[in-house]
């Protein structure tokens, strides 16, 4: 399975574990984009974890809007754990979107110049 | 006689009363009030002057009432609970009587959210029931809320009115509210404008069964429809308004330039029907911004000449 090397994967038992703070910290630490991959809606093993994750992603999108930064830098995707190829496809898709947006405006100046 | 007001005399003598309405302007131009007065003079027994209706700032009800009185009409000064505390209200009541005003309507008032100053502070120190009680106490016991007494002959002897909405929710409770206002001391009430005659007759029947038609003069609200647009607006966007489809259909069935005439015709028929309902002591005509039609409406409904009591 081939997907871009610029993705850092953080595994969680359920996307319901992902908090708003995790998404914000990722951006603070220099990520140009953050995306959450959860199970298909209706298939969450913990019933509503992925629904909560979606709401938190929406919250962070709103924060980005308030800061006049592109909301597309944070996203939620839903797929089944068995969909390897789709996982790779999402990785490529999101990478392309973020590349199109350019480096994160939150990056410290030294990093931006690089 | 509680107040010697013309309205009180007409009602007490058993005549079918007619009251009108006048909305003051959104400016300091008193002439507008005097202009409107011309259409109403001789066609009604007394005229409501609204109090910052829909929470929109207008020339005050007290001033508007005085202007009407100066034109030879009798005013029904409206007072809401939204903008004034008990101190200002009692003060204005004393002032109104001193200026010759004889009828006072006690209302809750639309929330300021609906008006042009939605950021204003909300008063509602007392509610409309308590205001009715207060005016009655000032008149019959010569006392203010504080207990302060006025000397005999110096108290405000006002004829007390209120508004009722037979169609607001919960419907079953509406007659109880009328009873409560009667107990509080109201002399007359004016209803919200009526289109659903069947429902109104039901309300009147219940009021009659509770003995309320003996205690309170009930005036039925009439607003002639100017156009299909107005009819639809009232049906769909005005809370507590019940406009049956048959009214809409009747106006729809007439071409645009005939709609106003049809609206007047419907109102005339309604007035005639109202005369037959036991307990209805008169009508309250609200032809807001259409005051020029009142003479025609009143004449066609057979309400002229107004009694001189």
């Amino acid at each position: 399975m081939q997907y871009p090397t610029n993705i850092e994967i953080i595994r969680v038992p359920c996307t319901g574990r992902v908090d708003i703070l995790h998404l914000l910290k990722a951006l603070e630490d220099g990520a140009d984009g953050v995306y959450v991959v959860g199970c298909e809606e209706g298939d969450c093993h913990y019933l509503t974890g992925n629904l909560k994750a979606r709401k938190r992603v929406e919250y962070v999108k709103k924060v980005l809007e308030d800061l006049a930064v592109e909301q597309e830098r944070v996203a939620m995707y839903n797929l089944s754990a068995a969909q390897g190829p789709r996982f790779a496809e999402v990785a490529r898709e999101f990478t392309d979107i973020v590349k199109g947006l350019g480096p994160s405006p939150f990056r410290k100046p030294a990093a931006k110049a690089a | 006689m509680k107040s010697d007001s013309n309205l009180e005399k007409v009602l007490t003598a058993g005549h079918f009363a007619v009251t009108g309405e006048c909305g003051p302007p959104r400016s300091a131009d008193g002439k507008i009030v005097r202009e409107k007065a011309k259409y109403l003079k001789g066609n009604v027994d007394s005229v409501n002057v609204t109090d910052n209706q829909t929470s929109v700032v207008r020339l005050s009800s007290l001033a508007g009432s005085l202007l009407l009185q100066q034109e030879g009409l009798e005013a029904n000064m409206q007072m809401t609970c939204r903008d004034r505390n008990r101190i200002a209200m009692q003060s204005d009541i004393l002032g109104a009587y001193a200026l010759g005003i004889r009828n006072l309507l006690c209302l809750s008032g639309d929330h300021q959210k609906f008006g042009d100053h939605p950021e204003a502070k909300n008063v509602f120190d007392i509610d409309s029931m308590q205001l009715i009680q207060t005016v009655k106490m000032m008149r019959d016991e010569r006392k203010l809320i504080s207990g302060q007494e006025m000397e005999e002959g110096t108290e405000p002897r006002l004829f007390i009115g209120a508004a009722v909405n037979p169609f607001a929710d919960p419907f079953d409770f509406r007659v109880y509210r009328l009873a409560k206002k009667a107990d509080a001391g109201v002399d007359f009430v004016q209803t919200q404008c009526i289109y659903n005659m069947a429902k109104f007759k039901e309300y009147m029947k219940r009021a009659h069964d509770m003995g309320l038609t003996e205690k309170v003069f009930i005036l039925a609200g009439i607003t002639p429809m100017k156009s299909l647009g107005m009819a639809r607006y009232m049906k769909n966007y005005v809370p507590g308004m019940d406009v049956p489809d048959l009214i809409i259909d009747r106006i729809k069935g007439v071409e645009k330039k005939g709609q106003a005439k049809e609206g007047i015709q419907i109102a005339v028929e309604q007035i005639q029907e109202m005369k037959e309902i036991p307990g209805v002591a008169g009508v309250h005509i609200m032809a807001i911004e259409w005051e020029e039609k009142v003479p025609e409406l009143v004449e066609q409904a057979g309400l002229l000449p107004r009694p001189q009591v």
């Binding site: 703070l21 | 609970c81 809750s108 639309d110 959210k113 509610d127 029931m129 308590q130 409560k180 809370p239």
Partner: protein
């Protein structure tokens, strides 16, 4: 509990625009329960401010703290060692907090990060509504257990008004007409007679209208 909401980000950023080093202090009381100013919310706000300042190339140093409560001097005292090290202190408690901090540390610049709104409770997870206005003279038992002062838009004691429609208040279909609820409850309980007498005029002097209030318990004073 006291329900508050974080101020809009633009407003908070404007408050701290000129500062390089700030303290954000949360509260484990009411604002934690209504998810407005607890430890987590302090972390989120700090992160958002840092991001915004990074973007403007004007970095800011933020320290995060959360106190047990900000409405008791003994907890505010915990900030004594460091309070004056900051250019500004952002309090995420209800508005009592920043006032207490400001009183204890008069040289500090203190800002409220929340808008304190009302006394209320949770209707469901994430939704809180106003139930009490602190009128100082509770009579809910006379109204079927509902408070008409807080929950009626016009604080009517003899409602409903003519604007009640479909069980909703005239100001919004998201607001229940509490008088509709009161009447229904008393009708169901066969206690409609409780509403036939005109409820007397309220004495507002026990409410905020009488001036700022104090409660003193002589038996508890040291």
């Amino acid at each position: 509990m006291i329900i508050a909401e974080r101020k809009p980000i633009e407003e908070i950023l404007e408050m701290v625009r000129a500062f390089k080093k700030i303290l954000i202090v949360g509260c484990k009381g009411c604002v934690t329960v209504c998810n407005a100013g607890g430890r987590k919310e302090v972390g989120i706000l700090a992160s958002i401010i840092r991001l915004a300042r990074e973007k403007d190339q004007n970095p800011i140093d933020i320290t995060e703290e959360t106190l047990e409560r900000q409405c008791d001097p003994e907890y505010i005292e915990q900030l004594a060692d460091t309070a004056n090290d900051y250019d500004a202190i952002l309090s995420m408690a209800c508005s009592v907090g920043p006032q207490f901090i400001g009183a204890r540390f008069p040289e500090a610049r203190v800002f409220p990060a929340l808008n304190t709104e009302f006394m209320g409770g949770a209707l469901e997870h994430g939704v809180w509504a106003e139930f009490c206005q602190g009128c100082g003279d509770c009579k809910i038992h006379l109204f079927g257990g509902f408070c008409p002062i807080a929950r009626c838009s016009k604080s009517l004691l003899n409602g409903p008004c003519g604007g009640s429609s479909g069980g909703k208040c005239e100001i919004s279909k998201d607001v229940d007409c509490v008088w509709h609820l009161i009447v229904e409850k008393l009708m169901n309980d066969g206690k409609l007679d409780q509403l036939t007498q005109v409820k007397p005029i309220k004495n507002w002097s026990t409410s905020r209208d009488g001036g700022p209030r104090k409660v003193v318990r002589e038996d508890l004073k040291l």
